[in-house]
């Protein structure tokens, strides 16, 4: 029996017919199969496992136009446009250090040193509610932290954190 994926039309984008471009307003536009979409929304379908593959491209009404199978398949100029937009849409700074962790009134207050994707380092205080759900181990060696506002911070390699940082985090990792 043929696989389910052979039975369904996944709507994979034909990149030969696609042209992504940056609009003057700061968005991404797409010319595809004769249509000019002046504002498209890019969404990672599998953000943690396949951040640069399987990108859903939808119009402003959230109707999916197609799925971009791999960003790498695009020509260099278009690839940069798509990567910049993905960086702008998915904001999750990297945790460099955990400066302090305090339990207060049922919330965990964390002061961290962060680095954004452009390499800029800065400090941030955040409050985390229900740590068992909002400090998640994504693998044996990486975590994702969600604060009460919906910001997310990634610790992609816990081995890189200092011993002091790990000691502060340790009680919340499980």
């Amino acid at each position: 029996m043929e696989s389910i994926k052979d039975q369904m039309d996944l709507g994979i984008m034909d990149i030969k017919q696609a042209e992504f471009y940056a609009t003057d307003g700061g968005f991404v536009g797409l010319k595809y199969k004769g249509e000019d979409y002046k504002h498209v929304v890019l969404r990672r379908i599998m953000p943690s496992k396949q951040p640069f593959n399987y990108i859903s491209v939808a119009d402003i009404e959230n109707k999916e136009i197609a799925i971009l199978k791999a960003v790498d398949d695009l020509p260099e100029g278009q690839k940069n446009v798509v990567l910049t937009e993905l960086d702008n849409r998915y904001y999750s700074p990297e945790i460099l250090d955990v400066i302090s962790v305090q339990d207060k009134l049922g919330y965990v207050y964390m002061e961290m040193r962060l680095k954004n994707k452009k390499g800029i380092e800065y400090k941030k205080n955040c409050a985390i509610k229900d740590v068992s759900r909002n400090i998640r181990m994504t693998s044996d060696n990486s975590i994702i932290v969600f604060d009460v506002d919906g910001n997310r911070y990634i610790g992609s390699d816990l081995k890189k954190l200092s011993r002091q940082s790990m000691r502060k985090l340790d009680a919340y990792l499980f």
Partner: protein, 713 residues
């Protein structure tokens, strides 16, 4: 000049920045970054300001009539709510030409320490005054102040009684036993005094304890009732911003923590302090050098206990979380065992559980080992005082510096020093836990309902015309669901609301029920503004049937009469008959007294829905709301319920939403909503003829039914 500034924290290239997007009363929108203006434009030039939420960040963009959308600023998620407020203000100006600014903008940063504040907590958790919280909690004690004061006085007397025996022992030894001049009678008198002091102290302790506990249990009862009343009387916004689990935790667990603190700890605090102080004073007056020796280990032991507790608390918390994870896995798997087995995933689930269980066993073992290492030295340190008393005191007795009685008194007083100390060292932790609960309970009590009742409500009869006048509403300020909806519903008219999901059909009826108030515009019933009608009066005169109506764990009779307080037997039977529920009820073993179990799980979908309809119509409402009342039922069951609905809706103003459009074809008017508001209005036939949105929806449904029919065939 008045202005509203939204502070954003990301530049266009996503690097951090201190930026402000300012809307001022002259209608200008300006962006300022690090003190320099980036751009400025007149708000009238745009069509709408919108928020777009990404993942971990968001942006405000301008939508134009004849130009591409333009990003105005970017921000981390901390700015999402205020971004919505900003857009609301700009869009209101665009629509009306009048600037309107909110009176008070929610403070997001603590003025004292500058830390970001948690949206759900009004106080800064670092700066809140712990004592003011405790003071407020103590205000709950006021009605029982007399009982509590008397019981604490009696308790204090009992403490003094417990401290008498060592003194009696000293006098007995020094004056009668040591010198061998005592008589049998004197010993009897001293023993009697000792026994009497014990009996009186214990008696007082039992009496005072009972009175104190009774009073604090009443305080706990008052507090829990007050929080539950708050939950019941609050508007739906409370349930939107707090999860059911959070509310249950506040009403049950947090009040429980406060109750336990008052009951178990509050009672002993005074006793322990009193015991420690009196014992210390007596020892110092008896022999200050020896008293100092008793107190030598106190600061060391206190500090060690405090530090060890800090370490242990973190480790035991981790153990608690691991245990919680094991429970969650177990709960999930047992609940979904059918799915696990049908997919043959038992081995995978066993492995998952084993890993979590192994992790728990590992941390538990580490913690027990640590406790085993730390506890003996701690106990040893506490006993150092005893050793010092024995060593130095013995030497002083031999030296003749102190008498044997004094040394015995010191030894007997050691527990009165160390026991309170062991206990008091825990107080900061207990106090911290309790104030956490207190803050959460008070937050709930202070939470103001957005649906307020005016001082003199205009409780007009709930019948007649329902009029939506230019209504704007959004559950989240940055995502408006209804934008300028106007709709007039005539008395006795049946209106069917139609449209794709997310266009605001349920929102329209939520507003009619005054579960929320519109952000702008108004809704009137019988020409009276809904805001001026008391919610109780409104709900008493409206009948509502939801898609998944909740039935309570009670009998058929109780569930139907829930709709009308004090309903007669005949009214209950009439409502059941009107809803075509009477037959299946009478066929049940205990008729109307049959228990239906929690959530009505023992009933079929059709039976549950018939009961909901009976519950809605028992009060004979003039306005009936049917929110997908038959959507979860099969076509055959729906048809039988439809018959009862046709009978019930006759002559009542009815607003109905139905997924199956055929259900609504007999409505007097159908109102088709799209993302811009009311798109089409007319009868089924008129709208079909028009070949617009409704026509498209009907055709799509017919096609899918045909497909289903073919597949079934």
């Amino acid at each position: 000049m008045k202005a509203f500034a939204f502070e954003y924290d990301l530049k266009m290239d996503m690097n951090p920045v201190e930026g402000q997007l300012i809307f001022s009363e002259d209608g200008m929108v300006r962006a300022v970054e690090n003190g320099a203006e980036v751009f400025a434009f007149d708000a009238k030039t745009l069509k709408e300001a919108k928020v777009h939420a990404g993942v971990g960040c968001g942006l405000i963009f301008a939508e134009y009539e004849n130009a591409p959308d333009k990003v105005l600023c970017r921000f981390s998620m901390s700015g999402l709510k205020m971004a919505g407020e900003f857009c609301k203000i700009v869009n209101f100006y665009k629509l009306t030409g009048k600037p309107a600014f909110p009176d008070e903008v929610e403070k997001r940063v603590c003025e004292k320490c500058g830390r970001a504040m948690v949206a759900e907590i009004r106080v800064c958790v670092f700066c809140y005054d712990q004592f003011s919280v405790i003071k407020r909690a103590l205000s709950f004690l006021r009605p029982y102040a007399k009982t509590i004061t008397i019981s604490q006085i009696l308790n204090s007397i009992s403490v003094i009684g417990f401290l008498i025996p060592p003194i009696i022992m000293r006098v007995l030894i020094d004056r009668h036993l040591d010198e061998g001049i005592g008589t049998w009678g004197q010993i009897m008198i001293f023993a009697g005094a000792l026994l009497l002091s014990r009996v009186i102290s214990n008696g007082l302790e039992i009496f005072a304890g009972r009175r104190y506990n009774r009073a604090t249990i009443s305080v706990f009862d008052d507090m829990r009732t007050a929080t539950y009343q708050k939950v019941q009387s609050h508007s739906m916004t409370l349930f939107a911003k707090r999860t059911p689990g959070d509310l249950i935790r506040r009403v049950m667990d947090d009040t429980d923590t406060i109750g336990e603190f008052l009951n178990d700890i509050g009672r002993w605090v005074l006793e322990m302090i009193l015991m420690f102080t009196i014992a210390s004073v007596i020892l110092f007056f008896t022999n200050w050098q020896l008293a100092l020796l008793v107190l030598v280990p106190v600061p060391i032991v206190s500090f060690l206990m405090w530090s060890v507790q800090k370490v242990l608390r973190a480790r035991f918390e981790r153990q608690w979380r691991k245990s919680s994870r094991v429970n969650t896995i177990l709960h999930d798997i047992i609940k979904g065992i059918r799915t696990v087995k049908s997919f043959g995933n038992e081995k995978r689930e066993i492995a998952k559980f084993s890993k979590a269980n192994h992790d728990l066993a590992s941390i538990s073992s580490q913690n027990e080992t640590l406790w085993g290492i730390l506890f003996p030295p701690m106990s040893f340190l506490v006993s150092v005082g005893e050793f010092l008393i024995l060593f130095v005191g013995g030497w002083m007795v031999l030296n003749g510096t102190i008498s044997l009685g004094v040394m015995v008194q010191f030894t007997m007083f050691l527990w009165a020093i160390y026991d309170p100390l062991r206990w008091l060292v825990n107080v900061p932790r207990w106090l911290a836990n309790t104030t956490t609960s207190m803050v959460k309970v008070f937050e709930l009590l202070d939470d103001e309902s957005e649906i307020t009742e005016v001082a003199s409500p205009n409780n007009v009869p709930i019948k007649g015309k329902v009029d939506y006048k230019n209504v704007y509403f959004g559950y989240k300020s940055y995502e408006p669901v209804l934008k300028g909806v106007s709709l007039e519903i005539q008395p006795g008219e049946m209106i069917g609301l139609v449209g794709k999901s997310g266009v605001g059909k349920s929102t329209l009826i939520n507003l009619a029920m005054r579960l929320y108030d519109p952000n702008n515009g108004k809704i009137t019933i019988n020409e009276a503004d809904l805001r001026n009608i008391s919610p109780d009066h409104l709900h008493e005169n409206m009948g509502v049937v939801f898609q998944d109506s909740f039935l309570f764990a009670g009998s058929f009779y109780e569930n139907i009469s829930y709709g009308k307080h004090g309903a007669t037997y005949e009214e209950v039977i009439a409502a059941a008959k009107a809803a075509n529920a009477h037959d299946f009820i009478t066929q049940s073993s205990d008729g109307y007294n049959t228990l239906i179990g929690e959530g009505g799980q023992s009933l079929s979908g059709g039976e549950r829905q018939r009961l909901s309809i009976a519950r809605a119509v028992i009060k004979n409402p003039d306005i009936l709301i049917l929110d997908e009342a038959t959507s979860s039922l099969d076509v055959e069951t729906e048809a039988s319920i439809q018959e009862s609905l046709t009978r019930i809706t006759k002559g009542r103003t009815t607003i109905a939403i139905a997924h199956r459009l055929s259900t609504l074809k007999n409505a007097d008017r159908l109102v088709v909503l799209d993302k811009n508001g009311v798109a089409e209005v007319g009868t089924h036939a008129e709208l079909l003829k028009k070949k617009g949105i409704y026509y498209g929806l009907v055709m799509a449904q017919r096609q899918s039914s045909r497909k289903e029919g073919q597949e079934t065939a």
